[in-house]
């Protein structure tokens, strides 16, 4: 590679990296916690579920009975979907096809329903820290103008991909030797550089996978499809949806009511036994209560049997199979590609141990981002760089570190507050979680920025997070009685896991914090500003006093 190409690539790597750094840190941090979304929710609501439960284990008839007592269901399509591994299922009810239906049955409805106690929840009252962190990792809270948050996170992921590609080119020649180099005792610049390259190379496959799958999942359709719809489909979105199977099925009603509604459970059980290891994820009842009622069942094979096996069956009332996709037959390219992308991104194909590895790699990526920012600062903290520029750089890093690193104590604080104070599932739950998280984040960010000391920020965010983190299992035991030993012996794995998770995180954070030493050289430049500034402000005061 010529010097010119090297320097250009290096510069694009630096600029793209520094621009997206804070956003990317938030994405990786919140995303890493999202691997345990289901565990967090089970812990938060005190509603643990066993792993690998599916709709076969759930009494759908009982849920349908309960819904039909409150709502007019005739002629509507009702679907139950198990989006995540939790007790509450998503229930979607379409508008009725029956023209004589009441006003309330003419609108589409969506809510969550607990499969055990049959309580139903709106989106707001169903909200949780798990959902919050999951949605924070693609900036759903910033959807202020249309889907601006999704677009922002998508383009951050896209520029992340760009930074990875340029990063590989820049380090290509030294990729093997760098792998073995770690010089913690050398200069600070070498420390950050070694950490950045070593962890960057170790995590490269992981980070590349996340850049590509993340971009694809969040903006793959919204950025790519407008041109395709306009030029390939002549503006007919419906045609595109048909091609890709996005359009939901609909069947005409016969207009005659059934005397008795058949058991949906029986259909689910039948479908569940059809293929080896088939897990039912969604049950759709078309034209409820009509003679032309149909039952559609969707699911996947367990990951041990096949990585990307999607299956579905459509039954009529006599139990005849109208349409079948066998998950064990050859998977279409489209299904396979999307399954690989989502599963690689969610890390849901290898159980808890894999998600723990993914979490560690995610946090390591956070460190790569921070060390990159530190290289940027240290490399520009030279005597020949103008004073004004250096001051600006120092401020940038003070703010960056304060915003990024305070996420750890803020997350611990949110877990704690929600467990202790938000015990009711009221519609205000969503707002309360927003307020707890965002206000504490704002206060800590401002505080650490004003301290203007990177060492202090680093050390005290870790200590503060660790102390709050230790209190998380205590708060849980105190409010719910589910102390570690209780949840372990009762087999409430999700509750036990989150308590142990916070304990281990806090221990690690404390060990790191206690090993942090302020190297005099380290903040020489940055802190010398403060001294100089203080000195000069003292001078000014002295002058004024004179």
């Amino acid at each position: 590679m010529s010097n010119r190409v090297y320097n250009i690539l290096f510069h694009t790597h630096t600029v793209s990296g520094i621009v997206i750094s804070v956003a990317l840190f938030v994405i990786f941090f919140a995303g890493s916690f999202s691997f345990f979304r289901d565990e967090i929710i089970g812990w938060e609501r005190n509603e643990p579920v066993m792993e690998g439960m599916d709709l076969k284990d759930i009494d759908v008839d009982r849920m349908l009975d309960s819904i039909s007592e409150q709502k007019e269901l005739y002629g509507r399509d009702v679907s139950f979907t198990k989006f995540f591994n939790e007790r509450r299922l998503g229930v979607n009810i379409t508008a009725s096809q029956d023209s004589k239906a009441g006003d309330k049955a003419q609108i589409r409805e969506f809510f969550y329903m607990d499969a055990e106690n049959l309580n139903s929840y709106t989106y707001g009252s169903n909200y949780s820290i798990g959902e919050f962190l999951y949605r924070l990792h693609f900036f759903a809270q910033l959807n202020l103008w249309g889907t601006s948050g999704y677009l922002l996170s998508g383009f951050v992921a896209f520029f992340f991909l760009f930074a990875i590609i340029t990063g590989v080119f820049v380090h290509w020649k030294k990729i093997v030797s760098n792998f073995y180099v770690f010089r913690p005792m050398a200069s600070l610049k070498n420390l950050w550089t070694d950490a950045h390259t070593a962890l960057g190379i170790l995590g490269l496959p992981y980070q590349f996978v996340y850049a590509v799958t993340g971009t694809c999942l969040i903006i793959g359709t919204s950025v790519m499809s407008p041109a395709v719809v306009t030029f390939m489909y002549d503006g007919d979105t419906n045609e595109l949806y048909d091609d890709f199977g996005f359009n939901p099925l609909r069947f005409d009603m016969r207009g005659e009511k059934l005397a008795e509604i058949p058991s949906v459970n029986a259909f689910v059980a039948k479908a569940g036994q059809k293929w080896k290891g088939f897990e039912v994820k969604s049950v759709k009842i078309y034209n409820y209560g009509d003679k032309n009622m149909r039952i559609g069942i969707d699911g996947y094979t367990s990951h041990n049997l096949k990585f990307a096996g999607r299956g579905d069956i459509l039954y009529d009332l006599d139990g005849a199979e109208l349409q079948v996709t066998d998950p064990h037959s050859e998977t279409s390219y489209q299904d396979a590609a999307m399954a690989v992308i989502t599963q690689l991104h969610y890390g849901d194909y290898g159980g808890v141990p894999l998600r723990i590895v993914y979490f560690i790699l995610g946090i390591a990526s956070c460190f790569v981002i921070i060390s990159g920012v530190m290289i940027w600062l240290v490399a520009r903290d030279k005597k020949h760089v103008p004073e004004k520029q250096r001051k600006f750089n120092a401020w940038v890093v003070w703010i960056y570190l304060a915003v990024c690193l305070s996420l750890f104590p803020v997350t611990a604080f949110t877990f704690l507050m929600v467990k202790v104070f938000l015990t009711e599932f009221t519609p205000e739950r969503l707002n309360h979680i927003y307020q707890i998280f965002f206000y504490s984040w704002l206060i800590l960010s401002v505080f650490f920025t004003l301290k203007r000391d990177n060492y202090f920020t680093n050390k005290y965010t870790l200590i503060c997070g660790a102390v709050l983190g230790f209190m998380v299992p205590l708060a849980n035991g105190w409010t719910s009685g589910n102390w570690l030993w209780v949840s372990l012996s009762a087999g409430h794995y999700q509750v036990f896991f989150i308590d142990v998770f916070w304990l281990s995180l806090s221990v690690v954070a404390l060990i790191i914090a206690s090993n942090l030493k302020r190297t005099v050289k380290k903040h020489m430049q940055v802190s010398s500003y403060k001294k100089k500034e203080k000195a000069s402000s003292l001078d000014n005061k002295a002058v004024l006093a004179d």
Binding site: I8, L9, K189, T215, C216, G220, A227, M232, D234, D243
Partner: protein
């Protein structure tokens, strides 16, 4: 350690040309390329690939735009490519339509 300024683009208009060529031009080339071959191969598979592979191509084209000495030449090349693929799309729609 910052990159050696000697090799970087100093002119603001050149920088503008390169960034816009990489971002908008790169997008145009990527999308038109996938659409053009979509008419001749299985279009569902091609469009599925566009959803993830498109970003890899786009990021590469973005990067290449910076390597041009003259950013407007990058724009020129990307426009010519987009135009070529658009012509293929135009005639494919008439002679080998998918819908």
């Amino acid at each position: 350690m910052p990159a050696n300024k000697k090799y970087l683009t100093a002119s603001k208009t050149q920088r503008f040309a390169k960034i816009t060529a990489g971002f908008f031009g790169g997008y145009g080339v990527t999308v038109s390329f996938f659409m053009a071959i979509g008419f001749w191969l299985d279009h569902i598979n091609v469009l599925t690939t566009l959803r993830f592979g498109g970003f890899m191509l786009w990021a590469t084209l973005f990067l290449l735009a910076f390597l041009f000495k003259n950013g407007w030449k990058a724009w020129g090349l990307y426009l010519v490519l987009t135009l070529t693929f658009s012509i293929i799309i135009h005639f494919s729609k008439i002679y080998h339509p998918i819908i």
